[in-house]
Symmetry: C2
Subunit: 413 residues, 2 copies
C-alpha cells in the first residue's frame, strides 16, 4: 500500500515531486485496476498542487459524492452521465488541502447493498465489502494513498476490515455531507481509507484544518472497554480470532482491558437503526423510487418495498431510542477511553453476491461516535479481518490515538 | 389570499375541480406576477392529481430546492440553467400528497442576504423580506395557496411577517433538506407559507403524513411565556405595537401570559448563531466561493470574506453553547406551553436595498424549535407585522394550535 505519511515525508524532503507522486498512482491504476475494478472513472489530466499538506496525494472519491470534473453516477443507471454543477464539500476540503482528485470509485447503488463488480485485492474470489467498495479496494491494492467513502450502516468500517486497510468513520458531521447523495440524514457519514492509522489521521487533519487530529508523538496507553455486541449475534471464527488477537496484543502492550456489558438500551438502539435508515431513505430517494422504480437496484428496491409502511410514529420512537442510547453511551465511556469490538463478523464473504453484513457497525453509526478499523489478522485464504476502536462523540483524536496503539501492539506481537 | 382549507372544502364538496383550482392560480400569476416578480419560472403544463389531500393545491417552490422539471438557479448566475436530476425530498412529499408544483419562487443568492427584484405585494415600495422572498410574496398576493421556503437565520418567519402571511419553520428535520441547497447544515430548515394557520397546518400535515399536525376542533387555551429578546436590541415602534396588541388580545381571550427573562446562555447562543452559520457556509459553498468568486452576490461574498478566518475551535465552542442553550430551553418551557415574541423588528424596510434583519429569528433557528408567524397588525403605509409563536422541539402541533389561538384572538379584538 502507499502511505500518506511516507509520501509526505519524501515530498517534504525533496526526494519526490508532488507530480511524480500522482503519476505513481496513475501508473498503479493503469497496471492494476483492470483486474480489481475499483474505479468508475479516472483522469490522466490531473496535476499536483504545489502547496498544502496533501500536495502529491492522489485521492479516490466514492461515486455518491458530487464532483464538477467527473460524472457522478451513484452506482445506478438512473444517474448515468450525471454531471453535478459543484464539488461536494469534502471534495473541496481535499482540494484546499492540496490533494488531487484522481477519480471516482465504485459504490453500490445509492450506497446500499447491491454489489459492484469490484474484487477484493487480497483474494479476487471474494467481495471487497460495500458500499464503499472501490475506495477500500483501491487503497488496499496500492493504487492510491487515500480515498473517501460513506457509512450509513457499516459501509466504511466493513470494507476496510475485508480489505485490510485502516479507515475512520469520524464523529457525525465532523465532515459535512453537503453534495453527498443522501440515504439517511441521521446516519450518513463521510469516512477515510488509507494504509495505516497515521495516514488516516493525516488525511482527516488536513481536510478539517484540525492539527489536534494528528497522532501525538507519544501514544498514550488507553483504558479499553471490550464489547461483544451479543445483540448482533455471534461472530464467525475469523472475526472472533481477530478480536482475541487484538485484545491479547494490547494487554501485552500494557493496556488495561475490561469486558463491558452494554445495557439493554443499546440492543434497542441496534434494532432501531434500520427503522431510522429506511424511513429516511424513503424520503431521500423518493424521486428515484417513484419515478425510476424499474431501474432501481434489486436489493435496494426490495428493502424499500419492505419498509414503505413504516409510520412516522415508529420513526419517532426509533429516534427517541437513539437519543436515550446516546446519553447512556456517555456513561459507558466512564469505564474506558475507547471500546474495542468487531469490525465485521469475519472475513469477506466468498463471491460477489453480498457485500457482507453491517451488524457490528450499525449501532455505532446511529450513535454518531468515531469508529476506526485496525487490520488485525490475515486469515486462511489470504483474507484480512480488522477490529474496531470506538471513542466518545467528538473524541476523534482519542479514537485515532488508541487505534494507533492497537496497530502498534499488533505489529509487535 | 387563497386558503388551502377553503380550496379543500370546495374540492371535497365537488364545487371546484382540482384542475380548476390550479387554473385559478395560473390566472392569478399571469395577472399579477409582472408587478410583483415572485416567480423565477412557472409552468402552464401542470395538471392536478386526482387524489391526495393536496390535490388542486398549486405550490411555489423556493429556487434553492431541486426540481427535475424546472431549472434550479439558487438566485445566482453560477447556477444559470442548472437542471437537477431529481426532485428534492420536500418536493416529492408535496407531489405524493397530491399537490401540483406550479413554479419556482425567487430567492436571494444561496438564501443569503442579497435582495431579489421581488416587491412586497402590500406596498411595492418595500421589500417582501428574504431569503424566501418569492414564496412569501406569491402567497401574500393571492397567486398561490401554499409555498415552500427555507430558514437559516430568519428567512421564513421574517418575510412572512413583512408580507402578512402565516408561516411555519417546523422543528429541525421534521422536513428533510435532501436536495435543498445547503448554507448551514445545523440551521437550514424547510418551512411553509400559506394564508392562515389552519392552511399551514394542513400543508405540513399532508406533506409529512402526520394527522396530529392538523388543528384540533377545539383549540386549547395556551399558557404563554412573553419574551422580549433584549440581547437582540430594541424593536421598532411597529414591531413593539404588534407584540403589544397580540399580547392584549390573547389575554382578553383568556390566556395566561407571563413575561419571561431568558438566562444569559440564550444571549450567548444568539451571538453564536452567526459563527455556526458562516463556518458551515464556508464549507457548504466552498466550490462557489473558490471557483466563482467574481460571480458571487456581493453581500454574501462580503459576509464570507469577513468570516473566512473562523477557526474550528471557535465553531466547536459555538456548537457547545448551542447545545447548552437547547438543554436550558427545555426548562424555559416549564413556565409556558409556548413563547410569544417578535417575528421581525418592525414593518418591511423601504426599498429593495435590504431584506430586513433576522435578529429576532436566529436564536430559534439555532434551537431547532418550531416557530410560527401570525400576522398581527397592519401598520401605517399598509404594511403588516407579525408575531412569533414558539414551542418546544418536536411540539409542532402545539405551536400551530397556539398560533391559531393567537390568530383567533387577534381576529376578535
Amino acid at each position: 500500500m502507499i502511505s500518506v505519511a511516507d509520501l509526505q515525508r519524501r515530498i517534504d524532503a525533496g526526494e519526490l515531486s508532488p507530480d511524480n507522486a500522482i503519476a505513481q498512482s496513475l501508473e498503479a491504476i493503469t497496471a492494476q485496476d483492470k483486474a480489481i475494478g475499483a474505479f468508475v472513472c479516472c483522469t490522466e489530466n490531473v496535476r499536483a498542487a504545489n502547496a498544502g499538506p496533501l500536495r502529491g496525494i492522489a485521492v479516490g472519491i466514492k461515486d455518491v459524492m458530487d464532483t464538477a470534473e467527473f460524472p457522478t453516477e451513484m452506482g445506478s443507471p438512473i444517474y448515468r452521465g450525471y454531471r453535478p454543477r459543484a464539488d461536494a464539500a469534502v471534495v473541496m476540503m481535499l482540494k484546499q488541502a492540496g490533494a488531487s482528485i484522481i477519480g471516482k470509485t465504485t459504490t453500490t447503488a445509492f450506497a446500499s447493498m447491491d454489489p459492484t463488480p469490484t474484487l477484493n485485492p487480497h483474494n479476487k474470489g471474494h467481495t471487497p465489502g460495500g458500499s464503499s467498495s472501490g475506495s477500500a479496494a483501491a487503497v488496499a491494492a496500492g493504487m492510491i494513498p487515500l480515498a473517501l467513502g460513506t457509512q450509513t450502516g457499516g459501509s466504511v468500517i466493513r470494507p476496510a476490515s475485508f480489505c485490510g486497510v485502516a479507515a475512520i468513520k469520524p464523529s457525525y458531521r465532523l465532515l459535512p455531507t453537503v453534495g453527498v447523495k443522501c440515504y439517511s440524514w441521521t446516519l450518513d457519514t463521510v469516512g477515510l481509507f488509507a494504509a495505516g492509522i497515521d495516514d488516516v489521521a493525516r488525511g482527516l487533519s488536513a481536510m478539517t484544518g484540525r492539527p489536534e487530529l494528528l497522532l501525538p508523538h507519544t501514544i498514550p496507553t488507553p483504558r479499553i472497554g471490550f464489547v461483544l455486541q451479543d445483540f448482533a449475534g455471534a461472530p464467525e471464527t475469523s472475526g472472533q480470532a481477530a478480536l482475541r488477537i487484538a485484545t491479547r496484543a494490547v494487554e501485552k502492550a500494557g493496556a488495561y482491558v475490561r469486558a463491558l456489558n452494554l445495557p439493554q438500551i443499546f440492543a434497542d438502539a441496534w434494532a432501531a437503526q434500520p427503522i431510522v435508515q429506511e424511513f429516511e431513505a424513503h424520503r431521500a430517494l423518493a424521486w428515484e423510487y417513484r419515478e425510476h422504480y424499474a431501474e432501481m437496484a434489486p436489493l435496494l428496491r426490495a428493502k424499500l418495498d419492505g419498509s414503505r409502511d413504516t409510520t412516522p410514529a415508529a420513526y419517532d420512537a426509533a429516534i427517541g431510542i437513539a437519543n436515550r442510547a446516546r446519553q447512556a453511551l456517555e456513561k459507558v465511556f466512564d469505564d474506558g477511553d475507547v471500546l474495542l469490538t468487531l469490525s465485521a463478523p469475519g472475513v469477506a464473504p466468498k463471491g460477489l453476491g453480498s457485500t457482507g453484513d453491517a451488524r457490528y457497525n450499525r449501532l455505532w453509526t446511529l450513535m454518531g461516535v468515531p469508529c476506526v478499523n485496525v487490520p488485525a489478522l490475515v486469515a486462511e485464504v489470504n483474507l484480512p479481518v480488522g477490529v474496531q476502536v470506538i471513542a466518545r462523540y467528538g473524541a476523534d483524536a482519542q479514537a485515532l490515538a488508541a487505534a494507533r496503539f492497537v496497530e502498534g501492539a499488533l505489529a509487535r506481537r
